[in-house]
């Protein structure tokens, strides 16, 4: 009986991190694919594209006292990190495993947007806003290096053949500059505002742009060669791994100009009072952006023109985030992509091999550099930190799910894990979608092997929200799926109102209204349960044992039925509707609600016509009705259309009305058949025929 099948069951195959229902009120959270796992957080674990959690990179973290780390640079042994809010350069010592950061210098500006290192060891740094480059010595001494005219932002500084290539905005220019800070000249001038990414491949130079996500090659002509245009707003980063050219392309939801009033007032208030706006609700919705990783195989000759006509592969795409940096990890087509959400760093090795290899504590992973040892230095924003990520597996690994919502307070049953090796499970529950002090403590779940699963249950508080943590407790451990069974509190349905349509008719109707009337009710299941209904009728004020079931063939699945008036005597009646959520919860746990309608009248008795006589060209008579009042009287001559007669007192407003009608003057000679018709307020008709003339 398909009507009994819960909707959520029907569409389960369309849902990724699914919650779905079994019969009898039991539901499950089913977490078994990459996206479901990726919605959670990992520490020392990797999430493979195949939907498996394995051991990930070992990481060591050093916190920075700034709001954001934005850029990084390494010479293989030492690294430098540029920060935002205060534009500082932090020197990061990579010896000893755990990175140790120490401020080298604070520069004038908002953010250190790009850095490079000169052969002599001095750093060249660019700071937003402006087109100024400064030289920073090993001791942190700052001196002017160069200033590029008409440049508002510098996004990339790349050494190339004894010069520096500098990607800039807002004029979309790529500059070439000597390592002495002289001979600045524009080598590429594109229509887009910003050259965000610069990549050199042998002697060739590639750039990615914004706000159109285009890929250009520097050419002898200043406008360069347009190699490819992606669907999106920016080519944020480029990387070359082996023969694969990889581009991080972001597309953002367009901002509306309608926010100008609020923004302008906010700017005025902040600039004229010195007070920055505050918002104690620090939770932030995810970015309205789509991030995509595109790649093309350039071949062994690194033929850049293949980017124009060879097929680009979309290796990876994520919603509600954007990519900030790319790093080629090896020469066999492996890149890391730093994401704006969850501090995630994804590793891509082609279209089918993508995994999360690091999940930084901070919200954004902003930049990455490779050390001599093959480790990765990663920076984080929204809470600034620097991480040393080792490609050797982490010693400990755990995955914590996102907060799972049962929609109502729920009783939790067993948890079933599928995977390999030793897995440890902890769970906790709480009343809020954000974990806070009201949540229970983590509770270990003792797992036992049951066929190919590990199963166990825990006595945890009945709350709406739940979170699970799985620890990979040995080196070979991996997790493929987890199923959490729960039974949410069953809320009874609520019938809001019952509507009973009246016997309706039109004044021109020549027949009586239909004997069926419609009974409809509105109902709220409140918890998504499927419902069934029973409808009953009885004479108004009757006893409980007088209800007569209308749906004798079984429960109603729709919230409406019909009542055949011919099956009931005239009188005043009422209807009762009973709703039950038994299909979703089983007979034992089902909840129900019932509602009795307002009384309504059934009147199928016809009016009467009496004393219908003809005299002097006029027909008179009396129409009466018992159940209601006389609605109208009409007449028809010789089968023609009915025409209205008049009440003698001018109004049809009572149950007994005298009427009269004047026959037409042009009624021809001979007998004529006059049919008089009376109608009551519910459309019941009575007719009487008389003969006149002749």
């Amino acid at each position: 009986m398909s009507n009994w099948l819960p909707n959520s069951l029907l569409c389960v195959s369309l849902v990724l991190a699914s919650s779905w229902a079994w019969a009898g009120g039991t539901k499950t959270h089913e977490l078994d694919d990459f996206d479901a796992f990726d919605d959670g957080e990992v520490e020392g674990a990797a999430i493979e594209r195949s939907g498996t959690i394995t051991r990930g990179y070992a990481s060591e973290r050093a916190e920075l006292e700034h709001s954001s780390a934005f850029s990084c640079l390494t010479d293989g042994k030492q690294a430098w990190v540029g920060t935002a809010d205060k534009a500082t350069i932090q020197a990061v010592d990579l010896r000893g495993g755990t990175p140790a950061a120490k401020q080298l210098v604070e520069l004038e500006g908002v953010v250190v947007s790009a850095m490079t290192r000169l052969p002599g060891g001095d750093l060249i740094a660019a700071v937003l806003p402006g087109g100024k480059l400064v030289r920073v010595s090993k001791k942190g001494e700052v001196s002017d290096f160069a200033e590029l005219p008409d440049v508002g932002q510098i996004w990339a500084i790349v050494p190339h053949k004894g010069k520096l290539l500098i990607g800039t905005g807002p004029k979309g220019a790529l500059w070439s500059l000597g390592t002495d800070g002289k001979n600045a000249k524009i080598v590429l001038d594109v229509p887009e505002k910003d050259i965000l990414s610069v990549l050199t491949i042998g002697d060739e130079i590639l750039v990615g742009t914004s706000p159109k996500s285009r890929l250009y090659k520097v050419d002898s002509e200043l406008e360069g060669v347009l190699l490819h245009e992606f669907q999106g707003d920016e080519v944020r980063a480029l990387a070359l791994s082996g023969t694969w050219l990889v581009a991080a392309v972001n597309e953002f939801e367009e901002r509306s100009v309608s926010s100008r009033v609020a923004l302008t007032k906010q700017l005025s208030r902040s600039s004229l009072t010195g007070e920055k706006p505050t918002d104690n609700n620090t939770t932030r919705s995810r970015a309205n952006a789509d991030a995509e990783l595109w790649a093309v195989d350039l071949g062994q000759k690194r033929d850049l023109l293949r980017t124009q006509d060879a097929a680009w592969d979309k290796w990876f795409a994520k919603k509600s985030q954007y990519f900030i940096d790319l790093l080629a990890l090896d020469d066999s087509g492996t890149v890391l992509a730093a994401s704006s959400e969850g501090g995630k760093i994804y590793r891509a090795r082609g279209r089918r091999d993508v995994s999360v290899v690091a999940d930084l504590e901070e919200r954004q992973a902003t930049s990455m550099c490779l050390t001599d040892a093959g480790d990765v230095l990663a920076t984080a924003s929204d809470g600034a930190a620097v991480y040393a990520l080792s490609q050797t597996p982490a010693k400990t690994a755990r995955w914590v799910s996102e907060v799972l919502d049962a929609e109502h307070p729920a009783r939790y049953g067993s948890f079933a894990l599928r995977g390999e090796g030793k897995l440890e499970l902890r769970v906790r529950t709480g009343p809020t979608s954000e974990v806070d002090d009201r949540w229970s403590a983590w509770k270990p779940v003792k797992l036992a092997r049951d066929n190919d699963e590990l199963r166990g249950a825990a006595d945890i508080p009945r709350r709406r929200y739940m979170q699970v943590e799985v620890k990979l407790a040995d080196a070979d451990a991996s997790l493929r799926s987890i199923t959490a069974f729960y039974a949410p509190e069953n809320l009874p349905p609520l019938i809001d109102k019952i509507e009973i349509s009246s016997q309706s008719f039109g004044s021109d109707d020549d027949s009586e209204p239909d004997a069926d009337i419609a009974i409809k009710w509105t109902v709220d299941a409140r918890d998504g349960d499927s419902l069934l209904y029973d409808a009953h009728v009885r004479a108004a004020g009757g006893g409980d044992d007088e209800w007569v079931k209308l749906n004798t063939a079984g429960p109603l699945a729709k919230s409406e039925t019909k009542l055949d008036l011919d099956t009931l005597a005239d009188g005043i009646y009422e209807v009762r509707v009973i709703a039950t959520d038994e299909p979703s919860n089983g007979a034992g746990s089902a909840r129900r609600d019932e509602l009795v309608s307002a009384p309504f009248v059934i009147d199928r008795s016809r009016p009467t016509l009496s004393n219908v006589t003809h005299a002097g060209g006029r027909v008179t008579g009396v129409a009466k009705d018992q159940g209601s009042y006389v609605h109208d009287v009409a007449f028809s001559i010789d089968g023609a259309d009915f025409r209205a007669a008049s009440a003698s007192d001018g109004l049809f407003d009572s149950s007994s009305e005298k009427f009269e009608l004047a026959l037409p003057d042009d009624l021809g000679p001979g007998p004529h058949r006059v049919v008089v018709r009376a109608r009551d307020a519910r459309g019941n008709l009575e007719t009487v025929a008389i003969k006149v003339g002749g």
Binding site: S67, S68, F70, A84, A87, V110, V111, S113, L128, P129, G152, Q153, W155, G169, K193, D194, L196, S210, P211, D233, E234, R236, N250, F252, R255, S256, V257, S258, S259, R260, L263, T264, K265, Q266, L267, S268, R269, S270, S271, L272, T273, G274, E275, K276, P277, T278, D279, N280, T282, R284, A287, A289, Y322, I324, S340, E362, R363, Q364, D382, G383
Partner: protein, 626 residues
């Protein structure tokens, strides 16, 4: 004068400590402790009824009220003196020393409104003397509990700049202000110090009363001739030579807020004088504002007469010469030092009226240096000058110029402001709500960076009759199509207060890279458009931002675009790529990044003052390739 005592409960906390009852028990045989005062005891008080010499009047103790204020008793007394029977307890008698059995008992300090008997309250001298050991602390920032109840310059900026983010509470008249902690006024209360004003018109006086919470009493203010009973408002300069005055108990004393050609000085009476050179003076017997450490100039005063009133009688007085500084404003008294001088801020106010036959006038005054009171005091002088130039309620244009010399940690600087505003129904009510100079002064003295030192102010007002003003009635685009890089031609219908509208065409360049965007063109009168400015990193930046404005006789056309930039203390970072903008706007903090819409703006000068604004949404087509 309920407004006077706002905040004195806090002052009590400052001196209460330990288990002992507050008060300095000196053992001085010339002082009678409050514990020795009994009902029925008789004595006398000293105060100036006329001129500058104190007179005696008899009192009789009615009862002693224990813990009338925190740690402070009050002695109720009644006076049989015929003068007191007529006037009741008089505003300005605050601090009048009361002697019982020939010993100093305390200061007359409390009365009640609508009194039928001359029943008053006395603050015990032991509580007062305790504060005479407190030091001068000019560096302590004080927040005067003013009548207006406004909270900081940010709230003013909201109102004046129409930012709409933090509406001000409604203004209240002094008599509407509730008592401490919101308690209703009534019963025995501090008599308060009537503020003697000189050379101020009624509107300026009312504004001053509103801003200071003090009850103004006109005290006259002409320069002295040789009449000994006709005193002048103080010059604002410390007294020298013969003008030096050695205070004695019962003398009239004023706190000088405005001196020079104009005057404003709350008045009371000296209770106690001490120190080797009589440099320590206690007065009032209650607080003025309860600020604690203070730095207001004080002057000896001349009492013209007593204005008897059913509600509250007051002394009509004039401040004479600056004699020292009010250094502590506490629950039991104000503490004055005649060996400490605090400079006042010279303010030169010039006004040119609308009628050329009345020549320009210049007034030279000084105002007290107070983080809270200085700005309204300066505006009071401007209001007074304008009030004299033309009666209020007339359709006028007011043109003002300010030259404010101040010093920040970066050194001295002069800020020049030129403002022009149209007032359809008089200036006085509108000026304080719209003066950028007032806002700038308030911000200079109340901001998150540092407190500036105001050195001097020159302010000039020119009042013009007439209404050279037009309102933007309608705008419409003349271009058939709008393309990036093109000149946007806009027809503006401008409507004067009377007569027909006229149409003017203005042009604004559409940015070259705006093709495909939906933009908003907004046109507004210059006075009502705020220039984009970066976030201030220091007070000088903040003052620069406040001083920047468009002329009132201009229209400002702005093309707002969907893209956003980031406002920082290092400038406005415009047109950032979206990913960079979002990364530089972290969400994990309660301090939100300040974004702004990309905008192209053009200011067009006009002959008239432009009011109002209008806007249009436009779809911009890409630039033609050929």
């Amino acid at each position: 004068m309920a407004a006077l005592y706002g905040g004195f409960w806090l002052a009590g906390d400052a001196i209460a400590g330990g288990d002992d009852k507050p008060g300095k028990h000196t053992g001085d045989p010339n002082i009678i402790p409050v514990d020795d005062i009994k009902p029925g005891m008789q004595g006398y008080a000293l105060t100036v009824f006329h001129g500058e010499t104190p007179d005696k009047f008899e009192i009789e103790v009615v009862d002693v009220v224990r813990n009338y204020l925190p740690g402070q008793d009050a002695v109720l007394f009644r006076s049989p003196d015929p003068r007191m029977q007529h006037s009741g307890i008089v505003g300005g008698m605050s601090g009048s020393p009361i002697y019982i059995e020939g010993k100093l008992a305390g200061a007359l300090a409390y009365g009640y409104r609508f009194n039928k008997d001359p029943l008053g309250g006395m603050t015990p001298i032991e509580n007062m003397i305790e504060i005479a050991d407190l030091p001068y602390r000019p560096g302590v920032l004080t927040k005067t509990a003013r009548a207006s109840g406004r909270e900081g310059s940010a709230a003013w900026a909201d109102q004046m700049l129409a930012l709409d983010t933090s509406p001000l509470p409604p203004r209240q008249m002094p008599e509407q202000i509730p008592g401490p902690n919101g308690m209703p006024s009534g019963g025995l209360e501090p008599i308060g110090a009537p503020m003697s004003i000189a050379g101020l018109g009624p509107h300026a006086a009312q504004f001053l009363a509103d801003a200071t919470g003090l009850l103004p009493v006109r005290g006259g203010g002409s320069k002295p001739s040789d009449a000994s009973d006709q005193a002048a408002a103080s010059s604002g300069e410390p007294a020298k030579g013969a003008a030096r005055h050695v205070f004695k108990p019962g003398d009239s004393v004023s706190v000088v807020l405005i001196a020079g050609d104009n005057g404003a000085a709350p008045n009371g009476t000296v209770t106690w004088v001490g120190g080797k050179n009589s440099e320590k003076v206690l007065a009032f017997g209650h607080p003025m504002y309860g600020e604690g450490p203070s730095k207001y100039p004080i002057a000896n005063a001349h009492v013209h007469t007593i204005l008897a009133s059913v509600e509250r009688s007051v002394k009509l007085s004039s401040a004479l010469d600056i004699q020292g500084t009010l250094i502590q404003d506490r629950q039991p008294a104000i503490y004055l030092r005649t060996d400490i001088q605090t400079p006042m801020i010279p303010v030169v106010t010039s006004v040119t009226g609308p009628d050329p036959k009345l020549g320009a006038r210049t007034y030279r005054s000084s105002v007290a240096d107070s983080e809270v009171l200085t700005p309204p005091l300066v505006v009071t002088l401007m209001l007074d000058a304008i009030e004299e130039a033309g009666s209020d309620g007339v359709e006028v244009v007011l043109e003002t110029r300010h030259e404010i010399l101040l010093e920040t940690s970066k050194g001295p600087r002069t800020i020049e402001l030129h403002e022009e505003s149209y007032y359809p129904r008089g200036i006085v009510r509108g000026l304080a709500a719209r003066s950028r100079a007032l806002l700038l002064l308030m911000v200079a003295l109340d901001n998150k960076f540092e407190i500036a030192s105001i050195k001097s102010i020159n302010q000039e007002a020119m009042v013009h009759y007439g209404a050279p003003v037009e309102e933007i009635e309608r705008i419409r685009v003349a271009n058939e199509e709008i393309r990036a890089g093109d000149l946007l031609e806009v027809l503006v219908d401008l409507k004067p207060p009377r007569g027909p509208s006229r149409t003017e065409k203005i042009t604004v360049r559409i940015p070259k890279d705006a093709g495909g965007e939906r933009v908003v063109f907004e046109l507004g009168g210059g006075e009502w458009v705020t220039p984009y400015a970066p976030l201030p990193g220091n007070l000088d930046d903040l003052l620069d931002n406040l001083a920047a404005s468009y002329p009132a006789r201009s229209m400002v056309g702005t093309i707002y675009r969907p893209g956003e930039g980031l406002a920082t203390e290092h400038g406005l970072v415009e047109a950032l790529p979206e990913s960079v903008l979002q990364t530089l706007s972290p969400g994990g903090s309660n301090r939100q990044a300040v974004h702004f819409k990309q905008a192209a703006r053009r200011m067009i000068r006009t002959d008239s003052i432009i009011q109002g604004d209008a806007s249009l949404e436009l779809n911009v087509l890409p630039a033609k390739s050929i």
